[in-house]
Symmetry: C2
Subunit: 99 residues, 2 copies
DNA sequence: AAGATATTTCTAGTAATATCGAAATATATA
DNA sequence: TATATATTTCGATATTACTAGAAATATCTT
């Protein structure tokens, strides 16, 4: 993952409401969670929720799938793991080797 | 880790310059890296760099240790791992169990 | 003490983000 | 077609963050 993308994703997760949303999705599993369920579970006004979900989608951490009137939000586990790997990349390779 | 703290830490990492700084520190190991080395390695103006380091310190992702005129920045690996664990906590526990 | 080195604080202009009610859109059902 | 449900878009305001030059502080050396 490029640093720019990693920073964007971390920034989106770095907001209490969005982090709550994302964790709720991660907990929910691969089938995804309807927007309406997130709304009642987390008690966020619709317009605010929609804004935050749009941002998570915009950086690829969430995708959406429509079934009739219901929009499911699906967390992108691969991107999450890529982000985690990025944070630990080259960990300590310069330990005791001051450049 | 509380959600509020996790969000704060993610937000600080969600900035290109700060993420570069933090990764440089993570790579550098437990002894830490002098501010001046970060400055020349990443080519950031001193006042800007100081501002970003202060923010990383303020959320506990970095600590500092002074040796004479030199300030070493030490990444807090435990906090990083705590953050990573937080992101994966309860992963998929509701898979196929719509509430 | 004077000068050099390392880093921070101050300051201010600019830009980005958060919030949520109201209105709009999309889809289903009667 | 009319109504209900699900979700988004619009719009306006308020708050917070980014940047970097200049000045200040801290420590070391001579």
């Amino acid at each position: 993952m490029k640093l720019e993308m990693a920073a964007k994703r971390l920034a989106e997760l770095g907001h209490e409401t969005r982090l709550k949303i994302f964790r709720y999705l991660v907990k929910g599993g691969h089938q995804g969670v309807p927007v309406g369920e997130i709304q009642s579970a987390l008690d966020v006004p619709g317009s605010t929720l929609s804004h935050h979900i749009t941002r998570l989608v915009s950086v690829g951490l969430v995708e959406q799938r429509r079934e009739g009137r219901t929009l499911y939000c699906v967390p992108q586990y691969d991107e999450l793991h890529g982000l985690i790997d990025f944070l630990q990349e080259e960990c300590c390779v310069n330990e005791n080797n001051p450049s």
